[in-house]
Structure formats: C-alpha cells, structure tokens
C-alpha cells in the first residue's frame, strides 16, 4: 500500500518554563503521519501527548523542530486542522446547529450553503432532531458528537482528537468509539487520536505511537 505522508514532524521539542519550574514536555520527536490513517498516540501520564497535539494545532509553539502539513510549516491555528477537546469546548450559548456552523460562519460562507453543510454533518454524527438544543440540554456523548461535527465542517486535512472520550462513561465511550470508526470510514479523514488507554488505542488505530515518559519522544510504533 502506497502511503502519502500528510504530516511530517521533525525534531520537535517543547519546554514549559515558569518562575518556579521547568518542564520538558517533548524532546526531539520525529514522526510521519500518513494520509487517511487513524493514528493513536498513547503513553504514560504527562508524556506530552496533548502538547504534541496542541503544537500540531498551532495552539502551542515548539522550542525546536517543526511540523509540516503537506510540506508547509505549521505555526498558528488554522481551519485545515480540526481539533476535538476532551472538555467538548462547545459554545454554551449556541445551539447544536450554530455550534457546528461556527467555522463556516468565520469563513463567511453564505447562509444557504451553511445550512446545507450543517445538515449533512448533523446526519453524519446522528444529531438530527437536536439542531435547536443548546449544549446543556445534551448528554456528554451528544456534546462530543457536536464537537466532532463542528471540527469536520471545516473539511480539515486532519482531525486532532485529544482524549475526546476521556470524560464519557464506559458505555457511551464504547458507542462513541464505534461511531468514530464509522465516521472515519465515511469521511476518509486523517485522524490523530490521543488516549491514555491502550485498549482504546488498540481498538481504534491503524497505527499506534507509544511515547516515552517525560520528556516524550517516540518509543515505539506499532502497526495494527
């Protein structure tokens, strides 16, 4: 199988410094991410999994190294990389529809077109009938569906998911894992999925990257 590299991570290091402490989160991390794969990143607590994802999103900048997306360096957040947060991060004052629509609204997409795109993603994540609900009326599983749809409407190159099911109960979590596989199969998106659960990684991934304890770097890559 010919693999196209979508993301090249080269020699990435990140140090968090405050007055009192200096934490080396990542050190010299190099990794290729392939087009269309579902890549799980796992490792011990504090190994920098989340930091890696946040650097890819452009929410943090590395102290050394670089990230190339389609050969272009990533330096700040952009609509070409969708992000799904563990805390859902839905805008509480916006309905399901308005949350999902956010990225299109930002881009200035015409309202009719927005409606059409949002409808298709509502269908994809199974939220028809909940368009007008606001986040506090939704269960946590549904909230994460909204967040996934919201990240997908921008049609990003890669979907970055930071322990997205970490705060869900076991049953909802199982359902959402299946849903993610279905959505992934349907959209053919490249997904980078951070989890501390090896079970979850094994269940979901094409390929699993295991990071070392802090400072994190690639310890092992397992082809599933």
């Amino acid at each position: 199988m010919g693999r196209n590299t979508l993301i090249q991570i080269r020699g990435l290091s990140k140090v968090f410094e405050s007055d009192k402490a200096r934490v080396e989160a990542l050190t010299d991390l190099t990794l290729d991410v392939y087009q269309g794969e579902l890549l799980c990143i796992t490792g011990p607590t504090g190994c920098g999994k989340t930091t890696l994802l946040r650097i890819l999103a452009g929410l943090e900048s590395p102290n050394a190294g670089e990230v190339l997306l389609n050969g272009r360096a990533v330096s700040k957040p952009g609509a070409d990389r969708g992000f799904v947060f563990q805390e859902f991060a839905l805008f509480p004052w916006r309905s399901t529809r308005k949350n999902i629509e956010f990225g299109l609204e930002i881009k200035g997409t015409a309202p009719e077109k927005r409606q059409e795109v949002v409808d298709s993603y509502l269908k994809l994540v199974g939220l028809q009938g909940f368009e007008d609900a606001v986040p506090r009326q939704l269960s946590s599983g549904m909230k994460q569906r909204v967040a996934i749809a919201r990240a997908l409407t921008n049609d990003p190159e890669v979907l970055l998911m930071d322990e997205p099911f970490g705060s869900l109960d076991a049953q909802t979590r199982n359902i959402m894992q299946k849903e993610l596989l279905r959505i992934w199969a349907q959209t053919k998106k490249t997904v980078m999925f951070v989890t501390h659960s090896v079970d979850e990684a094994v269940y979901l991934a094409d390929r699993i990257v295991i990071l070392t304890a802090r400072p994190g770097t690639v310890k092992k890559v397992i082809e599933a």
């Binding site: 952009g78 609509a79 990389r81 805008f91 004052w93 990225g103």
Partner: protein, 263 residues
C-alpha cells in the same frame, strides 16, 4: 419542586416576621421619643401612600411625581453613559495588554475617590441636570468596568482554543466568543453600577444638586419644613425603587447566565 416551594415559603414568612419585629421595635422607640422627631411606621406608610396616590404639591411648588421622575431621569442618564463607556473599555482592557496598560492606572487612580467628593466640583462646573448625571456616571462607571474586565478574564480558555482551531481571527474571537461569554459578568456590573448610581443620585440631590429629585425632597422636607413623615416616606420610596430596579436587572442577569451556560 415541592421542597423548593417549601423553602421559599419559609424564607418569605421569616422575612415578614423580621420586618414586623423591626417595625414593632421602631414603633416602641418612636412612641417614646419625647421630641417627636422619629415618626411612627404607620404614619410614614400612610404618608407615603397619600403622597404617591394624591401626587400632592409640596411647599416647594413641585408635585411629588416630579421628584421621582427627576431622580429616575438623572440616574438613567448617568447610568446609560457609564455603561456605554465602561463596557467597551472593560472589554478591551480584559482582552488587550495595551488597553490594560492604558486603562489600569487611570482607573486605579480615580476609583478610590468617592463619587460624592466630586459633588462640589460638579455643582460649579456643570449645569442641571449634568451635575447630577456626572455624579451618577462616576458612581456607576467603576463597578461596570471592573466586572467587565473580570468577565473577559474568566472566559474559559478552551473556548478560545476551540474558536482559534476553527479559524477565528482575533477580531472574530472577540466578537463571537469573548463578548458573549462575558455578558453575565457585564450584567452583574450593570446591576452593581445601577445600585450605586441610585445611591449616588439621592446623595447628590441631598447635598445640593439644584432643584427636584427625591434627595432634594428628603432634604427640604427635613431642613425647611420639619415634615418628618415625608422625609421617611421619601427615604422608603428610594429603597423601594432601588429594590425594584435591582430585582428587574437580576432577573435579566440570571437569564443571561443561563444562556451563557454559567448556571
């Protein structure tokens, strides 16, 4: 729901009992006041009801409603101006380091000065009604600014991250996330600002800001005419109007908090 109604009922009953006991003791004291300067509660309330219903003309030539309208007009004017200036200043201060650098020293310098200390200046510098409006403006301004700043600083950083990853630029982030997320705090600032503004207007009118207004009414009824029932009737009305304003704005505040997902 039943439990909620029960606690509400208990609170209501206790409130009524507390008021009754308070006014009973007041009445005991008033009845024994040899100088007769402290009116009895019954005569205060009957005076209040009489002046409100008959809208009687007082010895200064004003009908009662003119005083109420004058105070409400001044407080609304000053409060409105304060909100119009303080909300944008607070939003920018909370969001931008530059704006904070500019605003903070100015605000911190003037904030400790009680608005009432400006009354002598206001009287010589402004014409009616702007002397009183100015005092209300000063009184309302600081709580609104500071609550707004607190609101911006309290915006959940994950919402900011989410908006940025969805492609929002700084301006969009401000308009679509920071402002709506800060609204409940802004509302709290408006509630506090209005309460203080209302106290300030009465004080300003009392100390000598020209003609009319409830503070003026209280002042002249006491100093010029010795009508102490009217003095207290005016005071109670100040309290009642303040209470109604705060209740109304608190309602909006709760609705907004719910809307913004804070409750």
């Amino acid at each position: 729901m039943k439990e909620k109604q029960r606690t509400l009922l208990i609170k209501l009953l206790l409130g009524i009992v507390a008021l009754a006991v308070f006014f009973f003791i007041w009445d005991l004291v008033a009845a024994r006041d040899p100088r007769g300067l402290l009116p009895r509660p019954v005569s205060i309330f009957s005076t209040l009801i009489r002046v409100v219903i008959t809208n009687e003309r007082d010895p200064t030539g004003h009908v009662f409603s003119e005083h109420v309208v004058a105070s409400l007009f001044r407080v609304s004017y000053g409060f409105f101006l304060a909100a119009v200036v303080a909300i944008p200043v607070g939003l920018l201060w909370g969001y931008s380091l530059y704006a904070e650098g500019i605003s903070r020293p100015l605000v911190e310098l003037f904030r400790p000065i009680p608005p009432f200390a400006w009354i002598p200046f206001a009287i010589i510098f402004f014409r009616d009604p702007f002397d009183a409006v100015f005092i209300v403006y000063l009184a309302s301004f600081f709580p609104i600014v500071l609550s707004t700043v607190a609101g911006v600083k309290a915006v959940d950083s994950v919402l900011i991250d989410a908006a940025r990853t969805l492609g929002a630029n700084k301006r969009q982030l401000f308009g679509k996330v920071i402002v709506p997320a800060s609204l409940p705090h802004i509302m709290t600032g408006l509630r506090i600002g209005l309460g203080i503004g209302w106290m300030a207007i009465v004080a300003a009118e009392l100390v000598g800001v020209r003609e009319g207004g409830l503070g003026f009414y209280i002042h002249v009824m006491s100093d010029d005419f010795g009508l102490y029932e009217n003095v207290f009737a005016g005071m109670f009305l100040v309290g009642i109007i303040g209470f109604l304003m705060i209740t109304a704005i608190s309602y909006v505040e709760r609705r907004l908090s719910r809307w913004a997902g804070i409750l």
